[in-house]
Amino acid sequence: MSALLTAANLTVRARGLKGRVSIIENVSLAIAAGETLGIVGESGSGKTTLIRALIGLLKAEGVVSFDGHLRRDAAMVFQDPIASLSPRVTIGQIITEPFVIHGVAMADRQAKAAELLALVGLAPDFAGRYPYELSGGQARRAGVARALALKPKLVIADEPTAGLDVSVQGEILNLMGDLKRRLGLSYIIVTHNLAMIRHVSDRLAIMYLGRIVEEGPTAEVFARPRHPYTQSLIASEPVPDPRQRRAHAPLQGEVPSIFARPPACEFHPRCPRAASRCAAEAPELTRAGQSRIVMCHYPIVEEPLA
């Protein structure tokens, strides 16, 4: 498969009160046509900054190459569509606005709006409504419609289901899956929701403190996490079964500040597997079997079956 988007050695720096800090450190990734890549991390992991850098909303060091016109063929679905949609503009105007922004001619703006609404399962009369009149699920649909206006190849969605009820979450994910197949889209989905991303992504990148610490096919990463952070993250997700209660929280402590990055392996102060080498020498991202990479001196390896 040829890569649709490749990012090499992306670093995003910001000036803070305490000097310059890096929010994203040396991130490389690739996404193939037709693929869904999940980017998972907790608050402060840099996942939102990374996607902003990928589509050029933020200045970054490094190289992004894209098979197409980045600003037109890659579209973003923002996290809170009510806040990201102007309250005084109708849904019809909002979803057709990309045509105006990019100077693309529309024969009939109303017909275009109706077509886009139909694509996301909303009736044509939604074109005349205002954002506050929409439910959470309808607003997400409108956000997807706007992203699809210029027929992008890549859609980047930031927490597409955050704040939605679990019964509505499935509708949005099913819609996105359906559109992906019908329109041949690729997705990058950024989230902290592991239960959700497990169902909808082909490949997963796990971020910690602005670095990708593990990457691989979603099913493999969930079944056999290599990085101790990935393992703790998966184990932290509460299991909705009272017969599978945890005795303890899998991970102690908190994510350190980017202003005070721990030396060497940045996960070592919280890591249950840390050894002296982890505090002395930074691990490199290395191959761990076919199609998987991990940034750890002592990755979890499978015990051979007796």
Partner: protein, 309 residues
Amino acid sequence: MTLLSVEHLSIDYLTGGAPIHALRDVSIKAEAGEILGIVGESGCGKSTLSLALAGLLPAAARQVGGALRFRDAPLDAARLRGREVAMVFQDPMTAFNPVLTIGRQLMDFGARRGVSRARAVEMLALTGIPSPEERFSAYPHELSGGMRQRVGLAAALMVEPSLLIADEPTTALDVTTEAQIIALFRDLRRDFGGAIIIVTHHLGVVAELCDRVVVMYAGEAVEEGPVDQIFHAPKHPYTRALLACDPARIAKSGGALPVIEGRVPSLAALPPGCSFAPRCPRKTDACETLGAERRVFAGGQSVFCREAT
């Protein structure tokens, strides 16, 4: 011992138009020593219920029926709040004053209730705040979300309440921090003789923490019972559908995710009969004409559905 009993409580919001029936005929009991979960989706009435218990209902709310009782006497929530009844909110950042230190706020609140400084520091330590003496002079923004939730819990428990209400206590937290707060609640309950009520939309939190659970839909308690029974043998069609939708309970299939067809009805214009009937796969004519009926099964599993067996 039953600490709290809510008996046939109905609450409307008066907004100028038709009244919004936020709670209808809700009855629950919280026993000393147990953790009760109240779970449901947006608009199900769980927040109205927790605000009613804490005496924090907005001015537009009217209690149109039923009663709240605490230790076998009418509950005077406004008087008991901060004494016998304490509350923890989703984001304690908004519950704290941003320009006063944590310690000052704990003491402003605690001193009137006879809490010493030493006791306040001890409570911070108990809720897992590292170097609690130093944190006493920190401002709320200097603490992480998880630390603020610990301080909120310390403040709530400082007054030794017998009923603790936690409204979405882990919703604003990252998953690794959420696991720590869940573990903290579990540790605390060992020394806490009172009742804890956890209000949440998160089925995983209920499964991890609660002894009993009440499932709410459109302002009604549609199913209630021991948590194991509700998760493993749900009887109400809504509970079943809700559990089926949770991606954390579905083995990866690659197929479409289950959804609940239709929408939650408007609480200002409820359908006749059972409120879940328009979306229910098992509805009969009687559900729409006669409405739901409460049935009680073994183990105290109570189901508001005439078709439940």
